[in-house]
């Protein structure tokens, strides 16, 4: 039997419910980590890991994380798209765990685009 048990999970559940942070429409930012073969080979999972850690440490409840496939710019991977509600999506290139932490702290939390990592702005096509 693992040390982490169902009762630990129940505690998390109660705490999360009491935070009252699960209201719909609470989603302020969407962060997409591109996880095609190229992205994964270039380190996208570490980027995702760093992002999850940052969200956990900051206690953010309004950040949605998602993944997408390859968009044909394999040489620029790992790519991350940050989309703040009502603003144009920003695509970052050659991201690693540390850059992801910086983007999270400065852009996601404070709204300051990290220009030195930006690849492009706007939507793309992934299929």
């Amino acid at each position: 039997m693992a040390k982490l048990t169902i009762s630990d999970l129940k505690k998390i559940k109660e705490k999360a419910l009491s935070e009252n942070a699960l209201r719909e429409g609470d989603r302020r930012v969407k962060v997409t980590v591109h996880m095609g073969t190229c992205g994964i080979a270039a380190g996208a999972r570490d980027v995702m890991d760093a992002l999850m850690q940052e969200i956990n440490e900051a206690g953010s409840t309004d950040v949605v994380v998602t993944t997408s496939g390859c968009m044909g710019l394999c040489s620029r991977e790992p790519l991350v798209t940050v989309e703040i509600l009502g603003q144009e999506p920003i695509k970052y290139e050659h991201i690693n765990g540390n850059k992801m932490r910086q983007i999270f702290k400065r852009h996601v939390l404070e709204g300051e685009i990290q220009r030195s990592f930006v690849l492009a702005t706007g939507q793309e096509k992934t299929e």
Binding site: L9, I12, V33, G36, R45, C70
Partner: protein, 182 residues
Amino acid sequence: MLELSMHILDVVENSTRAGATSVEIEISEDTVHDRLTVEITDNGRGMDPATLRKCFDPFFTSKTVRRIGLGIPMLHQAARATGGSISVASIEGSGTRIEAIFRRNHIDRQPLGDMAATITALIMGNELIDFRYCHRKDEMNYCFDTRDIRREAPEIPITHREIITFIKNAIREGLEEIGVRS
């Protein structure tokens, strides 16, 4: 790709793109017969026989943004490098099953890597899909199933930061307990 867990993350991505609602990942390590097998089964839309024949071809993809598809070919290469093999079976409309067999102690066998990170990354990107991950090492067995989490905490999205952290730690502990090395 330098770890089996990365290949798994990548190949399961195919399942999610094929519209699967449930994906099973089974790893079994047999130290007596020097084997490590990775089996991925999904209930996605499957492939027709013509597509199935082409899936080992690195110059075949179903996508249009680029003309290569390296997911399965790279897993194939990783298995072959250890004297192992890979097989893909698919039924159109009902799902696909991939099995890769490795010689466990072969010097070129890639390390397993961080399976907890792979499973949580899959959950983060595919909130609505159920994942089951079972790892057997000889007589020992560990299983994780997102359905158990959803049953215990149905009010909270499975991607909630604390749930994800719980899952990551639970998988790490579970694997450690059965003596799996990353």
